[in-house]
Symmetry: C2
Subunit: 151 residues, 2 copies
DNA sequence: CCAATTCGGTTTCGTAACGCAACCCTATTT
DNA sequence: AAATAGGGTTGCGTTACGAAACCGAATTGG
């Protein structure tokens, strides 16, 4: 059978994973956040097969995470740029990055070094928080009935 | 060739995706956060094939995201419980959930309703922030050289 | 202007993963 | 003792993934 899709799931995590839940999509988005815009640059920097890259870029464009814009002067030359929707994945990527740095630190010990452009100071640890900004753990929150979560 | 693995990538996002970057793993973690602990409950609530569930649970246990504990009184009966590492995925899951709710709202309009157990108030929107808690966008931060990011 | 290279893919083909259904053994319930 | 539930494993067909080859348009170099 086909891989299970979650388009119509009533769980937003499942719907989100449907768009960026495969091995490559989030890495492409991350790379785009680093400033990469060109097909060949994605391909070389990620080491991804060209057909897979094509497929993922198309899907990300279809899902409006990236926008494909023709920047050619004389003919066609393309750039893939983050949309607002794509930029909104920033917290997801950073949360994942911080988790990875904490629990699977790099062999060479290098961790996330991401700094505020204005102040030069490192960014803070991400956390789920209440309306006042007080950090909450999974045990502090009350999850409503998931009903039919991911079927 | 085998699916590309990212175990040894020097990018922590890639390493994180190596552990929870497939279609099901994060949904299993989410379900565990809802309180599900038993094999059969995961299977029914997620609608996942049993062999896939076995494989994912094993991998999550191997990666110490879940712990498999024998809770049988007379014989073997198992529970899969979140470890600290698994609970630390909370910000990732919530960030993904909020993104999904914002950009792919449920057909019935129901969005995330997750509340502080203590106050009953809904949780806040997640964001990347500086040391003082000031929200930062992807444009506000300075990304250091990714070097050899995800190869 | 012609040749070489780059860009942005598509095609081919072999392998790995996924999904379903069926089966199995051990506990527990009736 | 029989039936059912828990926790898997095995087969098998379909789909996705990955590498490399190929391709046409655009650019670069001479």
């Amino acid at each position: 059978m086909a891989r299970k899709r979650f388009d119509d799931s009533n769980c937003s995590v499942a719907r989100a994973l449907n768009e960026v839940g495969d091995w490559w999509s989030l890495l492409i988005v991350l790379q785009a956040m680093y400033g990469t815009r060109r097909y060949v640059d994605f391909q070389q920097e990620l080491g991804i097969a060209k057909n897979i890259l094509c497929d993922r870029l198309s899907r990300l464009v279809d899902n409006e995470v990236l926008a494909k814009v023709n920047v050619g002067e004389h003919g066609a030359r393309y750039e893939y740029r983050l949309t607002d929707k794509g930029r909104d994945l920033f917290p997801v990527v950073i949360a994942l990055r911080q988790w990875g740095d904490k629990w699977n630190p790099a062999p060479d010990g290098s961790a996330l070094d991401l700094r505020d452009r204005a102040t030069g100071r490192p960014i803070g640890q991400m956390h789920v928080s209440d309306a006042d900004g007080k950090p909450l753990t999974v045990r502090d929150v009350f999850m409503p009935e998931p009903a039919d979560d991911a079927g």
